[in-house]
């Protein structure tokens, strides 16, 4: 949580500084519109006709990991949910509604869970402290630790252990996505979406593919969580 770099700011200049940063965003937005229109006069007309992204991206809220930018994608190409530490809790309505909408209504072909090394959320979960309202959310990461306790405890180096927990947290989020009826049913009918797990490295800006074996994970999960072939398959009433 010691991520914040405090900039020494004289109090009187703060409000002016803030005003400038606010105006910068609007100015930048106008510049972006100009440059987009210059390179493709139809760009905004196409976007206003609707969205049909191929990807759903679930990542961390961290400012240093701008979803579409790190993927080299433009406006209209990736549907995005970002929360603290890219979690997919089974009972969280917020993330579940995103997955549901993306799979059932937008028919995305790929779902990507993207974590990142030096994640402050994962760090906080590894710190034995009471973090108030964050406790219930970060408990999910502590649960990931518990699920993989033997493997993690066997790693002597703290940094290596932290990196591995970040990776395992991504794997567990993928697993939770595959547990949903929306994904299982769509995959059975259409052979998509495919779920991927990635980790972004802030040091070099590169994505590392954890090479999750989607088919194998799905088969493993269906032993216990098979929701694809319920007798009364009303797509609209299950998740």
């Amino acid at each position: 949580m010691a991520e914040q770099q405090q900039q020494p700011k004289h109090k009187r200049t703060i409000s002016r500084y803030l005003q400038q940063s606010h105006e910068r965003i609007f100015e930048n937005n106008r510049k972006w519109v100009e440059s987009k229109t210059r390179s493709d006069p139809e760009f905004f007309a196409k976007l206003s006709a609707g969205q049909s992204p191929e990807y759903l991206y679930i990542g961390c809220a961290d400012s240093r990991v701008p979803a579409n930018e790190i993927m080299g994608l433009d406006a209209g190409e990736v549907f995005v949910h970002r929360n603290i530490a890219n979690m997919v809790p089974n009972t969280d309505l917020n993330v579940m509604s995103v997955i549901n909408y993306a799979v059932r209504h937008l028919h995305v072909k790929h779902i990507v869970v993207c974590g990142h090394y030096t994640c402050g959320g994962v760090k906080a979960a590894m710190t034995p402290a009471d973090l108030g309202i964050l406790n219930p959310w970060l408990r999910g990461i502590r649960d990931v630790y518990r699920l993989h306790e033997a493997e993690l405890d066997a790693i002597p180096d703290e940094k290596a252990k932290y990196d591995r927990l970040i990776e395992l947290n991504v794997v567990e989020s993928c697993r939770n996505i595959i547990k949903t009826a929306a994904v299982q049913q769509s995959y059975q009918d259409n052979q998509y979406p495919i779920v991927h797990g990635w980790v972004f490295d802030l040091k070099d800006g590169l994505l590392k593919d954890l090479k999750i074996d989607f088919e194998a994970m799905l088969e493993g999960i269906k032993k216990i969580y098979n929701l694809a072939s319920s007798p009364d398959r009303r797509a609209s009433t299950t998740d």
């Binding site: 991520e3 914040q4 770099q5 900039q7 409000s15 803030l18 940063s21 606010h22 609007f26 937005n29 106008r30 510049k31 972006w32 519109v33 987009k36 229109t37 905004f44 007309a45 976007l47 206003s48 969205q51 990807y55 961290d62 400012s63 240093r64 701008p66 579409n68 930018e69 790190i70 993927m71 080299g72 406006a75 209209g76 549907f79 995005v80 949910h81 970002r82 603290i84 969280d92 917020n94 579940m96 509604s97 549901n100 909408y101 059932r104 030096t118 402050g120 959320g121 309202i133 964050l134 959310w137 052979q191 979406p193 802030l202 800006g205 590169l206 994505l207 609209s236 009433t237 998740d239």
Partner: protein
């Protein structure tokens, strides 16, 4: 239909370009972000693919802390968004929170009616549907389905700002260090970000955009 790996390989190629460009053009930015983050802004927006906040604001990695969900709905009992707000305002200490709705929002459109979208989406959209019922007379006066949905998207931004104002960590940061809250509407056909002022409609919109929004 079989999903080929093409669209997936394309991303990894896109990422390689992103990383190379950053390494070549802004090596100091990469070094800085590797140390920590100090974003100015928390962005609470819609998951819609057409509103990539960092791209449309022409910002850089490290500038904006982000939560995006279906139709940028905030409710006090949602621990997902509440954790983001707590972390961004309480620990990262952003200076402003921007709630951004948008025109042509699929969530707002769905909330204009009561179609059964399944338990999950029905429950998630209920606060927005309640808002629609609450403002029925105003919405009824608007002529087109687009205009109604756009106005509902705006009302939803104001509603989210009210939820933020009730949040203790937000209240504390507003009182102690001047955290400010802002309502925005992104107009997809124009690519333009508009500032919303309490109660008013898209005040900074150009005449052309206003005309289109009102139509």
């Amino acid at each position: 239909m079989t999903v080929t790996t093409n669209s997936f390989d394309r991303i990894l190629a896109g990422n390689a370009i992103f990383a190379r460009r950053l390494t070549l053009r802004e090596p100091e930015l990469l070094a800085k972000t590797a140390k920590g983050q100090a974003p100015e802004v928390l962005w609470l927006g819609c998951a819609d693919s057409r509103i990539p906040e960092t791209t449309i604001c022409d910002c850089k990695p490290g500038d904006i802390f982000v939560h995006r969900n279906i139709a940028n709905i905030l409710t006090p009992d949602d621990i997902n968004s509440a954790s983001v707000i707590e972390y961004a305002v309480g620990f990262v200490k952003v200076n402003r929170v921007m709630v951004c709705g948008h025109t042509k929002c699929g969530g707002a459109n769905a909330a204009m009616g009561d179609d059964d979208l399944g338990d999950i989406l029905n429950t998630w959209l209920e606060p927005m549907r309640a808002l629609r019922r609450q403002h029925k007379s105003e919405l009824d006066k608007l002529l087109t389905a687009d205009a109604k949905a756009n106005r509902l998207a705006e009302l939803n931004v104001f509603r989210s700002l009210e939820v933020l104002k009730q949040n203790p960590i937000v209240q504390k940061a507003m009182a102690e260090r001047g955290l400010t809250l802002h309502g925005l509407l992104y107009d997809i056909p124009a690519g333009e970000l508009l500032v919303l002022e309490d109660g008013k409609t898209h005040v900074t919109a150009t005449t052309e955009t206003q005309h289109r929004l009102n139509r």
